[in-house]
């Protein structure tokens, strides 16, 4: 038998909870599997994975029934430390699992604690496996987000475990770094025979990397299947708020029963069926000359002093003028300067050179409190915006500080608009990620700004919440002169933006509409951007104009053919 994990009839209930979070669960994982665990929020994904290293039931003492064996060890009889020699765990908030100051110290921390004499070699080897060997002597806080995630993974690898559990890597990382981590996981799985268990919302990654999929619902296993079978269940998955790859969604909605799940399959699948002689709808270029300028950047540069006393240049020679009514997306890799660009507009940071004006008022001579009358900035991490002890108080902070007459009624209206009425007396920090994000947008709306700046509004959200949130963002443009979003989320860009600015090493390398951007693969590649699958697919199929959403993609086929030729659908594979 090469069964590594055996879960039998497990029921677990957190102390004080009304319902068990795991309900008579049964599962078996074989050695060498690359398993994706999916399920909607609260389906018990993280709880299940915390069984494998014994955090449940040892650390979280609730009502535990049933039996779990991991690498032949019963989890009740063995301690978390013993089980952790077999299971490496990367938490969702991985930054908090790095406990030492330097990279090598952190990665060799576990082997040292277990008294292994070769702890440094083990640490070095783990760093090599994830490609961080050159940073061994670096301080943890000097690393980028992607590097920290790799370090957290290396920390788990140092004990040379059979199993690696990784909790939502794509939720916290940009697509470029998420791909990097999946490449490492793939190598560990294929070359080193590690069993990988990944909690994942992003089905395009599942399609590309995972071989089996476990679907959880309300604490029970619905099924465990091969990736192909699993992702073909488009309807069921959509119902559970898990969105299959865009290509699969499109094929399924067109009535195919054997749907493509990866990009290459989709290209082969749709190739022969592309309606030829498509009516090409010319998109009109917005005429910017007559519009009112809201924000102007003039030769702006910004740098900061780093630990080694050198100055790191974040932005250079930024020239921009942003007009009323535009929906501006700022994209680019981590560290390209997106957040800095937004923060400069708020007056929290002053440009080192050049000038920024908002409605012809210079930002440099203005305190952030003054700029706040015009500009609202929504943090990437909503928690950093919560400065009061309930949602309602936080939302009302701005009008209250300004003693705006009759603000209470306005606040009630905003709470309603953002679906926060039932949560208004709760402490914002104790809410779920999606709720926090909504609260942070409500805070922005209550400021009644003419410009709103959103920093990664869809980061670390599951797909369902993300979709929900996009609705709010779409509504914003009705009330606000200018909306700017810094984001990695190319799906959001393609569905929402009217103007895209690409930053690369602190400089603007592209400023135009998304059509031009997406049809320039070299530029996308340089900036580390990955277009949404449907866009790549349209490009590969040479359709004109490019489709930016699944809806427009299938409309093209529906209009051309009326009916989908089902017989061709079965030809793939």
């Amino acid at each position: 038998m090469n069964e590594l994990i055996h879960v039998e009839n497990v029921t677990f209930q957190y102390p004080g909870a009304e319902h068990p979070v795991l309900n008579k669960m049964n599962l078996s994982v074989k050695k060498g599997e690359f398993l994706a665990v999916i399920g909607s929020n609260g389906s018990g994904k993280s709880t299940l994975c915390k069984l494998f290293n014994g955090l449940i039931p040892h650390f979280y003492t609730g009502d535990f029934e049933g039996s779990v064996t991991v690498s032949g060890l019963n989890i009740v009889e063995n301690s978390v430390a013993d089980l952790s020699c077999h299971v490496g765990y990367v938490f969702q908030d991985f930054e908090n699992q790095l406990v030492q100051a330097r990279v090598l110290e952190d990665v060799s921390f576990a082997p040292l604690n277990f008294g292994m004499e070769d702890y440094l070699q083990r640490g070095r080897r783990a760093l090599e496996l994830v490609g961080l060997a050159h940073l061994a002597d670096e301080f943890v806080w000097q690393l980028s987000g992607g590097q920290k995630h790799l370090l957290a993974l290396a920390g788990g690898l140092a004990m040379n475990p059979d199993i690696i559990v990784i909790d939502e890597p794509t939720a916290q990382l940009d697509p470029y770094h998420a791909k990097e981590i999946y490449e490492v996981l793939k190598k560990l799985n294929e070359q080193y025979g590690k069993t990988i268990i990944s909690i994942e919302h992003h089905t395009e990654f599942i399609a590309e990397y995972c071989r089996t999929v476990l679907l959880l619902n309300k604490g029970s296993v619905l099924w465990k299947r091969s990736t192909r079978e699993a992702l073909s269940e488009v309807e069921l998955l959509t119902e559970l708020a898990i969105y299959p790859p865009q290509a699969a969604q499109a094929a399924s909605r067109l009535g195919a029963d054997n749907v493509p799940i990866t990009l290459n399959e989709a290209i082969a699948f749709f190739k022969e069926k592309v309606p030829c002689g498509m009516p090409s709808v010319p998109r009109q270029k917005p005429d910017r000359s007559q519009e009112e300028t809201v924000i102007r950047f003039d030769q702006v540069g910004f740098s900061y002093k780093s630990m080694n006393k050198k100055r790191a240049q974040v932005l250079k020679n930024i020239n921009l003028s942003l007009n009323k009514g535009e929906q501006v997306a700022i994209v680019g890799n981590n560290g390209a300067g997106k957040s800095t660009l937004l923060r400069l507009i708020t007056g929290v940071k002053k440009p080192e050179s050049g000038s920024i004006t908002v409605r012809s008022q210079s930002v440099a001579s203005c305190a952030p409190e003054k700029m706040a009358d015009h500009v609202a900035y929504i943090y990437q991490n909503p928690e950093q915006m919560f400065i009061d002890d309930s949602v309602k108080k936080d939302v009302a902070f701005f009008p209250r500080a300004r003693k705006i007459k009759g603000y209470e009624a306005k606040i009630d209206e905003i709470l309603k608009q953002f679906d926060l009425v039932d949560l208004q007396d709760k402490d914002s920090r104790l809410m779920s990620g999606g709720q926090q994000r909504r609260a942070s947008l409500a805070i922005g709306a209550a400021m009644n700004p003419s410009v709103i700046l959103l920093d990664e509004p869809t980061a670390s959200l599951d797909m369902a919440t993300r979709k929900h949130l996009t609705q709010f963002i779409l509504k914003l443009k009705e009330q606000i002169d200018l909306v700017m979003i810094a984001t990695h989320d190319m799906q959001l860009v393609s569905e929402w933006a009217t103007r895209v600015i690409v930053l690369h090493h602190g400089q603007i390398i592209f400023d135009g509409n998304k059509e031009e951007l997406f049809s320039n693969p070299a530029l996308m590649d340089k900036a580390g951007l990955v277009p949404p699958q449907i866009v790549t697919l349209s490009l590969a199929l040479n359709v004109e104009p490019i489709d930016y959403s699944v809806d427009s993609f299938i409309n093209r086929f529906k209009e051309a053919r009326g009916e989908w030729p089902l017989q061709k659908a079965s030809q793939i594979n």
Partner: protein, 274 residues
């Protein structure tokens, strides 16, 4: 005003963070930083305590010169020195004014100088000893002299979290500024503005505590999986951790120089009166 403004600009959160981290980790290449922690503990045990029992101004001055020398050798950040001087001057200045106000005379200056000298020796000795040891070295040293492993872990973990704490605090502080309202008028001597900022600085601590408590949950779980508890009980781990600690020639040399210097000032104090 311009000078104060330029100073305020330099004293950003970012700057303080960098200075603190450099103080903790940046000085590991100096001669003193290479000494064994135990040597520094021993050295500090004398220079940190003895000044209270020495009344000869000559010896105190000699010791002060010596610790000034060692402080220069540690290449400590200027911010730390600045804060130290500010503290010392503030303390003595306040005592001087208070004593003059309550009927003292200028004769108070000499005893005050002696006190300042004692405080200076102790402070500079602390800077020499603790700013040149990285938190890890300090932790190892403490572990070696029998302090429980939890203490040395707490020190190194504390420093690991320091930059995160700073950033988090900065974010929260800015959140207040991005939604709050500063006083319309600065008031006499910027009185209103200063009060506003002090209020924000204090208020920002509450959200910070809550968010840090939340972060700590994952950390505790991670420690459990990394065998943190297990390590504190296992003597083999302690041995591994301390394998690099060795008292070598440099240590003896440093102690010898210190002792010789002390003997020479003690002897010369018999011949010099001042």
């Amino acid at each position: 005003m311009a000078a104060a403004k330029s100073f305020a600009d330099k004293l950003s959160f970012e700057q303080i963070k960098i200075e603190l981290l450099n103080t903790a980790y940046g000085n590991d290449r100096t001669l003193i930083a290479k000494l064994d922690p135990r040597t520094l503990f021993l050295w500090y045990a004398f220079f940190g305590i003895a000044p209270w029992f020495i009344h000869s101004r000559f010896i105190l001055a000699g010791m002060l010169l010596f610790v000034i020398g060692t402080t220069i050798m540690t290449k400590v950040s200027r911010l730390i020195i600045f804060i130290l001087i500010l503290g010392l001057l503030g303390e003595s200045g306040y005592l001087l004014i208070a004593s003059l106000f309550f009927g003292g005379n200028l004769g108070i200056i000499i005893p005050l100088l002696v006190l300042t000298m004692k405080l200076s020796v102790i402070s500079l000795a602390s800077i020499t000893a603790f700013c040149s040891m990285s938190p890890e070295r300090l932790g190892e040293g403490l572990l070696r002299i029998g302090v429980p492993g939890q203490v040395s872990f707490s020190i190194s973990y504390g420093y690991r979290m320091l930059p995160t704490l700073f950033e988090e605090y900065n974010h929260i502080f800015m959140s207040y500024r991005l939604r709050g309202k500063s006083p319309e008028k600065h008031g006499l001597f910027y009185f209103r503005t200063v009060i506003y900022f002090i209020k924000l600085a204090v208020k920002s601590f509450y959200p910070l505590l809550l968010s840090m408590a939340k972060r700590a949950r994952t950390t505790v779980e991670a420690l459990e999986t990394k065998g943190g508890q297990y390590a504190f009980r296992n003597p083999a781990v302690k041995k591994l951790k301390l394998a690099n600690l060795r008292i070598g020639k440099t240590d003896y040399f440093f102690l010898l120089i210190s002792v010789l210097y002390l003997i020479s000032i003690f002897i010369s104090s018999h011949y010099v009166s001042f």
